[in-house]
């Protein structure tokens, strides 16, 4: 069955430090992969997506993610974290059924220390 795993439930980084949020997926074909961010009390905002081509994708707010097929991973990175990046981050994969259904990971809560 398709699944998405985000191994880290909580991560705390200092402002200005680099960030990497892990995402592993289980999928039977080339996946469509997404990262969304949810600020407190807000909806889900699309950060970036991958579906083909260059395995390093750039997103909004200075985020990037790298698709590694050999590791079934799609980790999210940012070189320098800002306090406003504190939020919950969700990795998601598009289901094989191609109806658009997204399967989400459990989410990683990012805390930013001043």
């Amino acid at each position: 069955a398709q699944s998405v795993t985000q191994p880290d439930i909580h991560i705390t980084v200092s402002e200005g430090a680099s960030l990497e949020l892990r995402c592993n997926y289980s999928y039977g074909a080339t996946p469509y992969l997404f990262w969304y961010v949810q600020s407190p009390g807000q909806g889900l905002q699309l950060l970036l997506k991958y579906f083909s081509g260059d395995t390093l994708v750039q997103g909004i707010k200075g985020f990037e993610a790298e698709f590694k097929r050999s590791q079934s991973s799609f980790n999210l990175r940012k070189p320098s974290v800002h306090w406003s990046d504190a939020a919950e981050y969700f990795c998601a994969v598009g289901a094989l059924s191609n109806t658009g259904k997204l399967i989400f990971g459990q989410g990683t809560t990012l805390q930013v220390k001043p």
Partner: protein, 114 residues
């Protein structure tokens, strides 16, 4: 920038009552979705809707749930007889009719069933 809107932002209801959650998807989108997020849990797919019919639904989406596109702009989720366990944040999303169905989410409706 076009966005998905949802009303109401919060709703409190008594167990057994019917609720209707409303969504206005992005205007040129043709695929529509509902997801829910129980507090502290992952975002779960409920249903996808295209061409005036359900294209996929999850096990959660039982006979108590229904969706409708009553006019050219609204997309609704009805829960006929709410249960305590229906308390959650409900997200509407929409996507363009492309092979990669990138979904854009609304801000959510927080439903509390007492």
């Amino acid at each position: 920038e076009p966005e998905v809107t949802q009303t109401p932002s919060h709703q409190v209801t008594q167990m057994g009552q019917e609720v209707i959650l409303r969504c206005v998807p992005i205007s040129n989108h043709l695929y529509f979705y509902w997801y829910r997020q129980i507090l502290g849990q992952k975002v779960e797919f409920l249903v996808s809707f295209y061409n005036n019919e359900i294209s996929e639904k999850s096990e959660i989406f039982d006979d108590q749930f229904s969706v409708e596109r009553p006019d050219g702009s609204n997309f609704t989720l009805k829960i006929r007889s709410t249960k305590l366990e229906d308390s959650a944040m409900y997200f509407c999303a929409s996507s363009e009719p492309t092979s990669v169905k990138t979904q854009y989410f609304g801000p959510g409706t927080r439903l509390l069933v007492l």
